[in-house]
Structure formats: C-alpha cells, structure tokens
C-alpha cells in the first residue's frame, strides 16, 4: 500500500498567510457564467432586453475575473512541479482555458444587438461554458480533496 497524505495549501506559489488565492477567486467567474446561462434562458423565454443586458454584463465580468483567477492558477501550476505532476491539474487547467476562450467568444456574441446577441449562439456558448465548468470543477475538487500518492508529492 502506498502512503497517502493530504496536499497542504502552502505548496502553492501565490498565497496569503499560507492560504492559496486561487480557490478564493474561482467562485466569482463560476457564479457569473452560471448566471449568464440563467439570464440567457430568461431572455430566450421573454425577449425582454433587460435579461440580455444582464447576460452581457455577467459574461464580461466572468471573463475578466476568470482571467485573474487563471493568472494566479497558472503561476501555481508553473512554479510547482508537484502540481504539474498530477493529471487532474492538467485537465483542470486545459478545461478552464477552454472556458475563458468560450467566454471571450460569448462576450463578443453578447455584444451584438437584440435577439441574435443571445439566440441561438450566445445561449449555446453559455450552456457549453457551464458544462465545461462542471468538469473542471470536478477536477479542481479532486486536486484539493483527493489524497495524493506520496511518491509524486515533493
């Protein structure tokens, strides 16, 4: 049997009081992207521009906050071989890069005027974004909470 221990937060590069900043930033873009999908759905149902306006702000804010979270996460990832050595870390990083690319496209689609700023392409991108987030969130959870094989930790 290999010896398992839990990865301590102090092994990340960007931290405050030995707590990683990355998990602190991550909820904001996730909340924005999930809310974008919800307001897109309401716009689809009602055609009231207010909901499309909400979506435009949410997806833009989500993208900006997501870039901040990604920068911090990337520094952790690049400066700690122990993180890079783990497969879920790669899936988490690649997935979230895809989320940001999707969100950038989606913010531009939401910059169109009226109905086609959401239906169909904006709505599809919002839904795919949330689907990818479910996957990367799962991988992130694995990184934080699953036991780490001792031989790959530093």
């Amino acid at each position: 049997m290999p010896d398992y221990t839990v990865q301590p937060a102090a092994t990340v590069a960007v931290s405050v009081a030995r707590r990683s900043i990355h998990p602190l930033l991550i909820p904001f873009p996730i909340a924005c992207f999930v809310a974008t999908l919800l307001t897109d759905l309401v716009y689809w149902a009602t055609a009231k521009m207010m909901w499309a306006d909400f979506s435009a702000w949410l997806v833009t804010a989500g993208f900006i906050l997501g870039v901040l979270a990604a920068i911090v996460g990337l520094i952790d990832f690049l400066s700690r071989p122990a993180i890079r050595a783990r497969r879920p870390a790669w899936l988490h990083a690649i997935g979230n890069a895809a989320v940001l690319v999707l969100a950038l496209f989606n913010a531009l689609v939401h910059g169109r005027d009226a109905w086609t700023s959401v239906v169909p392409l904006g709505l599809i991108l919002s839904a795919v974004t949330v689907a990818v987030l479910l996957f990367t969130g799962w991988m992130g959870w694995t990184l934080v909470h699953a036991p780490v094989p001792q031989e790959v930790a530093e």
Binding site: D53, W57, A93, L108, H110, G111, D113, W115, T116
Partner: protein
Amino acid sequence: MSRAAGLLLVAAALALSACDDDDNTDPQSQIGANPVLPAIRQYLFPPMHVAEVVGWKEGEAPTVPQGLKIEALATGLQHPRALYVLPNGDILVSESRAPYPQPVKRPKDLVMGWIEARATSAGQNGPSQRISLLRENPDGHGTSVDTAFIDHLNSPFGVALVGADLYVAESGAILRYPYQEGQTMMEAQPSTLSEIPGGPIDHHWTKSLLASRDGSHLYVGIGSNSNITENGMDAEKNRAAILEVDRDTGNFRVFASGLRNPNAMSWEPDSGVMWTVVNERDEIGPNLVPDYLTSVKQGAFYGWPYSYFGQHVDPRVVPQRPDLVAKAIAPDYALSSHVAPLGLAFARDSSLPDKYRAGAFVGEHGSWNRITLNGYKVVFVPFADGRPNGKAEDVITGFLGSDGKARGRPVGLAFDKTGALLIADDVGNTVWRVSAAP
C-alpha cells in the same frame, strides 16, 4: 496545457481578426431604386473604421468639379450640424452634440462611446449646443456678423420660421421664440410648443424640422432609440418616425413610420411632396443596409425595425411582426451602405449651373461600420418630374485626404439668399459655400 490552450487562442485570434468588406458587393450597385442586397452577416467584431479627424489646414478646402467654386464662409465654429436660411438671408447654424451623458446599458456602450468620441475627435472646439447667426457679406465672401444667436440649448438641430414664430427642435422639445427680422441675438425666452421623444436615452438625437407650406403644421424627424431595438421596444414609442405637430396646440401624431433615422425633410419643388434622407441599420455587414433618399407618404410604414427595403426581414427583432412587414414599402432611392446621409437640399431655385438645378444635393457624413470608407462627400441626385432620374454624382469631395484621414465631414445643407450651396462641416468646424464659378 500550454499547447492546447495555445492552439485554442490562435484559433480564437483567427476567428476574431477584423474582416474586410469583401462580400462581392460593389457599393455603386447600391445606388438607385433597386440596390443589390447581399445576405445578412453577423460578426464577433463588426467591421469598423472611423476616419481619424485631422481638420483643415490654412488654405485647404473640399474639392469641386469644374464650373463650381468653393470657399469657407465661416470657420472656427463649434461642431456645426444643421443650417437654416432666414428670409433676410441671415444663416442660422445649429452647433450641436449628442445630449450626454447617455446611459450605459451594456459593456458595448462603453466601447461604442469611445469610438463615437474618436469620430468627433478634433473636437477641441468649444461646448457648442447653441445656434449661431451668420450674415454674409454682400459679395458672398465671408461674413459681417458671426454671433451666438441662442446659447445653452439641449442638442439643437432643426429650425423653422413660420411668420414671426421661430421654432427650434432640440433633444426633447420644440421651442418657440418670437423673431424679428434682422435681429442678431435672441433675447426672448422660449415657450415649449411640444415635448417630443428625447432622453434619458436619445440614441438618434438629431431632430430635423420642416414647416408645412400653409404653416399649420410642423414636421419633426425622430430617429430610433437604438440600432435595432436593443434598448427595448418601450424606448421606441413615437420614434423612427416623422411626427406631424399641430402648430396651434402642440399635439402631434405619427405622419410616417419605420424610418430608422430620418433627417433633413424637404419639399420637392416640382411635386410638392415631402422627401427625406434616412440612416438605415448597422452591424449586419459592410453592404447592409443601404441608407436612402425617399418620398414620404402620409401613414406609410418603411420597415424599421422589422424589415428593410420592403420585405427583407431582420432576424434581430423578436417578436417579429409579419403584418407590418407585409405592408412595409421600399424607399425610392438607395444611397449606398453606411454613407450616413444627414443633409438634403433641392436645387431648382439655386444659382448653380443648370446641370445641378434638377435634383437634390445630399450631405453624406460618412461610414464607420465598414472597412473601406463610404460617404464623406456631398452628392447630387438628378430628378425629373419630381422623381430621381439617374445615378448620384459625387460633387463636393476631398473631405477625406489621400491619407484616409478626415479634414471634415459634411452634414446639413442649405441654399443661401444668392442661391449658393452651404455645407455644415461638423468636425471641420466650417460652413462651406459652393457657388457657380465665374
């Protein structure tokens, strides 16, 4: 991660890079009664190009063909946009800007605000928002009076005189002043004839004014409050329309609708029919939708927002209105896409050479929503029997330099007392005077 993310980013960059105008549509094929209309395209980044404004250097002027002469009548103005010539020959110049601040409803509004500011950039030209009075010298060269006639207005644009009542249409109201011939400063306070659709959003804010021939009504052009209903239909009440205002009561009704941004309504001199220039919708391609010149029929619907040039449906508008699309009438004469016509003047009674008498001049402020600039000139549309008759001809050009930078941009047009053509040049801060060459 780096390779996969890198590929994604490269793919994104390729997909986002600015498109050209190439959809195989010749802008010249969009002038006249039956413009070629390509398929709708939607963008991540709509093609955008606003000519950088550098202004006129000393001695520079727009270009006119042989037989015409151009000179600056007045310079150093503050964003002159519309012109009105009083019976004694005095010229009222509406020096005007958008009412601001405009509400920011989406992140896009911040970006578009920046682009718009750039389009009027050379703008170190004072606060404007006033009407100036110019009095030409008897020889037509320069002015003897150049003074602020009415100051501190709220985005004034249209002016009309009926008897001794001088009307000024600003962002949200038609004001009435008592006018005495020859006065060079308005000292009386105005009364409000009518509240017209204005803020808090006043997207297309230029309110053109035209008096009926018998003086009983005023016609006011109210542009749409959005590109294509993105501010909601509630914001479009009594907009994208020409309103007919009763001069006694100030009450109005819709005279014609579906006109996205109608400006410079004028009476065609042979037929007595109202004509107007209209700025059509943006962001569905460099060659959609052509702006146009059209006669205005009472009670008619011209398509906006549901359709354009008759029954060409715009998918961005939901819920659609097939009933209105069915009755939308196509305008008379396309002027090419995104040229932004804001000035119109029929030339029958001018003193220009005969070839410029039968028809109308159109001031084209110029494009932003295509890569290759279009407009930025004054064209002449020949008329016969009260209808357009032939291809529009470029007459006053050179607002764009060969470097692609704007010296000026033409807006409102009028004929002075001698029959010379006046051109308001907003970013050039000049009123130009075009006369027959001696």
